[in-house]
Symmetry: C4
Subunit: 238 residues, 4 copies
């Protein structure tokens, strides 16, 4: 049974926020690791994030087996989440999305890099991973743990990964950090796209990224942003 | 008389969804083949899709003659629909639109091609048809069965066709598939437009398109998307 | 006194529609010629179009003198309207706006030309006029009849004029035509802007423009569009 | 104690307007100088502008010390405001924002310059300041008076300043002027960005800028714009 905890309520909020900010549309999903059992994660049944409610939450083993599927359909790409939780103990929340602003960077060799200070949290390196390199022609979905593990290996210890022709994966220490990172990945992509047309953008330095990441993940910045995101998404801020 | 069936209710939903997702504006239309009589199709009287109600539905012969026009004005371009139903028995729904994201591809030689996995359903080839090539200077509307048949011939067995300086035609096996294809045609156009400015985009392979089309038209993906589209459009999901 | 006629109600609707469709923002205005007295025109007091109500309407001589200003401030640029009504008896409605999509064409030599069929009504030629050429450094506003007449001369018999660094002027035979032309001027600008980045767009031919203008100004198209615009703007459609 | 004056109510309105017009998002802030004590300024506690209420207002010394912090968190970058008030007696309102349209100009050498008449108020010169030039790798936030003073020196007597990789600072003689300047800085950036892709834009001349600034800051223009902004933001217009 899924507990009615603040963590799980925040997961509902995360779904709604990502929809409100246009990071996800009909597709995309967000999960959290179960804080009581690090070998489990919690995620909605197969439903668009904008519509997810508490009763939609399911619990999964890291291999993607639902403890009780309640007869519901499950996201086909839940292995993205389990593979990351398996490999990275510091990660407790994962977002997968097809943001329209990010997608152009998934089709070309152009590197998406932090250029604006609020987006430092996306990290200095954002690798691109192409499922075709390992598995040839597929339906491009990360459907097996083998695929998820290859993807996770390409992601390394970075906060973000781009998937060729597909979208982004974002990992965070908690769900608020993962949401903020996913939102500002999109914002940075929007700004960088236009700046590149004007000339060679100046990107953040390694030192700036490090110092700013701490600032953007501080309570001062996070509380302000989370309240704002919640109000806009029509959910209670906690 | 138009039956109050789920199919016809879905046609109303399709109208509202296409408006909500900005695929159509004041103009554009969507039809379904009558499942009881394959020589008939159902479509609104001349009205903007955002406003279409059940009482606006009319039934047409494939040649575009209304069985009972109820004294209402009819879409001038209904021959687009009839000509496709006539030639393609597998098609049971047609959308015609002037999506702002798609239109730039209707003005130049730049090919619109599936680049992102959710848009595989638009198909590997999207021909462009220019009414001027066959009929010289016209008002560019597909007003006669002769024009509709020329257009249908250019479309071949593809899911989508672009019309020079005009818009897009989308065909589906059912109205949900046609709506999803029309929405992601627009999404793909948006993403491809920006990606092309960054370099040469990697497009989906023929194998990926085939495998993904099956996935995107599966119940798992379609149910999720249809519920999402309906909620956003303020119509009941069925 | 301003009559509570359908024409004047349509002028209110026109204000709200142009705001809803983002053709105008805080600034911009729309007027109609008084159908009872061709030497008079009707326009709001100085107020943003989104907020205009019946009680805001004032009547002006063609020289821009209010018959009864009711102690209200007036638009500084009303001479745009009077000068056009003075020179062009076929014009009964004028829109002035600063549409963000149109403005880039007001800063460069790039010609804005009808490329999509719904926008044929903008006309084959859209001149650019620069107040600086005649009057040197000014506040760029058309404040005097002398300025308005120079502008009108540059406009010739065209439906649209662009003003360098400033915006657009649209003339119509009635307020519905003027609104539709202003909306699709913006739509065409949006599409043409992106198409030009892909290559050389194919524009509508002179014959297409002529045939399509008739179609787009027909009752069939106009009634559909006007109902749609009114519903979106939250005003009654008449 | 913060007085319930019209000035302070306008500061609340300014917060909401800047959010409604997408000039600020979760981050960004606006302040006014206390008209009763020029050595004090008033600004919200650390909260997103969209959510700011009267009870959130705090009063600060020019050095950024809260007279009574009410136990609340404060904006980390309040030194931006104090440093400007300290150096420029004519300035009574300051906006700091990360507008997405403006940010590309903060990443490249491309000058943002007034090109459209409503944006003349942004001023003839908009310097870019890079905190890295003076302070090396930092978290990029203006946290100390020393940093604020360096920034203010770079701004000179201009209305706007761009901060590399960060955003914009706007100063006004009163809060309405500061809001209008911040909004049209964003509008000008949007238009200039597209115009530059078409060719070399014609910018406003020095004479036009001077004459237009007076016009745009006149009661006629300001009253119209302020009413419009307030209605859209859902606040009372005063």
């Amino acid at each position: 049974m899924i507990e009615n905890s603040q963590e799980n309520q925040n997961l509902i909020s995360a779904n709604r926020i990502l929809a409100r900010e246009n990071v996800v549309d009909a597709f995309g999903h967000v999960s959290i690791r179960n804080s009581e059992n690090s070998e489990r994660y919690i995620m909605s049944r197969s439903r668009s994030p904008e519509l997810v409610e508490f009763s939609d939450l399911l619990e999964f083993s890291l291999e993607g087996v639902a403890l009780d599927a309640k007869g519901q359909a499950m996201y086909g790409e839940r292995m993205i989440h389990g593979a990351i939780y398996e490999a990275r103990p510091e990660v407790n929340a994962v977002v997968h999305n097809h943001s329209l602003a990010v997608l152009p960077f998934c089709l070309t060799k152009t590197a998406l890099k932090p250029a604006i200070h609020v987006a430092a949290v996306i990290g200095q390196e954002i690798p691109i991973w192409d499922i075709r390199d390992h598995f040839g022609d597929t339906d491009m979905l990360v459907r097996t743990m083998e695929q998820g593990r290859k993807m996770t290996a390409a992601m390394g210890s970075n906060n973000c990964l781009l998937m060729r022709g597909h979208g982004a994966v974002v990992a965070g220490r908690n769900v608020k950090e993962a949401v903020m990172t996913a939102v500002y990945l999109q914002v940075n992509a929007t700004v960088q796209t236009e700046a590149m047309k004007m000339g060679d953008p100046v990107y953040l330095s390694a030192g700036e990224i490090e110092l700013l990441t701490e600032v953007q993940f501080s309570d001062l910045a996070m509380d302000r942003a989370w309240e704002y995101f919640c109000v806009r998404a029509g959910v209670e801020s906690m």
